[in-house]
Subunit: 228 residues, 2 copies
């Protein structure tokens, strides 16, 4: 249920980001975007309702026996979604379009735009399991931050290298829209190295957990090694 | 804090509803709407972030000593905001524009579009006070439903009768947009009677609470007797 709530926040953000006043995209996951298939008003309302549904699910009676933990999960997801998380990162992204950004500025933007929700997803998963000590929580958060950034670096590389049919979304849009990416900031070769560095850092952060973190390690590999 | 959370949901819905793909309105509370003052992307993101902030506030650690009650408040607000509440009502409204609706169809639309959030506001207030028995909760919910509908009936009357300067928003838009309203469904005179009936019903529902409900009774009077 926690995973579904995160996915709903993610899905709503994609529906809204694809709208003409934002990225103005017509293709998503290989299909027409919501405002193309239906209309803009529907896309706006679907996104709004999906965000509500995420919090409705996560606050559902009986989801966890510990209601305090459940309340903290709601709070974590709300913080990650809002003005100091995903929505704020999106605003920075819009503000920055057409301006050259260096790698540090890009990192600041992506830590908010995509990183916040990925970190929330990891921490929500942790909330559902056995309690973590402060050191373990910090390690997990470091893992999530590296994986989140790696995701974005790889996304930028794929946008520059792959074609739309493989990606399931419009390829090459970053360059057309004059967006600063890790490829424009670092060049293709250094961007690829950065993705590998972040993969190594994320795996290192999992070391204290040993075999318990196998799935998280596989996730880091999947994110960096994916071709679409 | 609960009141602020409801206000944030309400404010986000206004920002999104004013956008060109929805009601396309340029004036709100006597000022330019958000997409006019800034741009559509900003209006979209501000609305999204306000919704997150509502749930962030309502789930804040230490807001109530009873975390179970707090979790139920989050759930109530999320349900009222989503596809079976406000956002769903808005979708019905868009779907119905240009079609003649009778009073029963109008009620179904408004129970969702504006009524759900008004009911949530009343029930959230109740959650913050001493515990209610089932009969008291049902009475409060009846009060909230009548007040919510009364609000909409009066809104339709004012849109037909008042001017923009008094309303702080564009007057006469319903007729221009071919929207079904209580004035088109019942005529002005019967719409005004309905508002008075709903006021009487809402006050009757408060009877079991005696003087404890004075503020709620004043609110019903305010909603029906307002001139803007």
């Amino acid at each position: 249920m926690a995973a579904a709530a995160v996915e709903m926040i993610h899905a709503y953000s994609l529906v809204h980001d694809d709208m003409p006043c934002m990225d103005d995209d017509v293709l998503r996951r290989g299909k027409p975007t919501v405002h193309v298939e239906f209309d803009q008003a529907t896309a706006l309302l679907v996104g709004d309702a999906l965000q509500s549904l995420a919090f409705q699910l996560l606050s559902a009676p009986g989801l966890l026996t510990d209601e305090g933990v459940q309340l903290r999960m709601v709070h974590t997801l709300a913080q990650a979604s809002g003005s100091r998380g995903m929505a704020g990162g999106q605003a920075i992204d819009l503000e920055s379009t057409g301006k050259p950004l260096d790698a540090a500025e890009l990192e600041f933007m992506h830590v908010h735009k995509t990183g916040a929700l990925i970190r929330a997803a990891v921490m929500l998963g942790a909330h559902c399991g056995s309690e973590l000590d402060a050191g373990e929580a910090a390690s997990l958060d470091r893992y999530a931050k590296c994986v989140g950034l790696a995701f974005q670096v790889v996304d930028d590389v794929l946008d520059a290298e792959a074609d739309s049919a493989t990606l399931g979304k419009t390829a090459g849009k970053d360059a057309v829209q004059g967006k600063a990416t890790y490829v424009t900031a670092l060049g293709l070769s250094r961007a690829k190295s950065l993705a590998q560095d972040l993969r190594a850092q994320s795996l290192a952060a999992l070391a204290p957990f040993g075999a318990r973190a196998t799935r998280l390690a596989q996730l880091a590999d999947f994110i960096v090694l994916r071709k679409f």
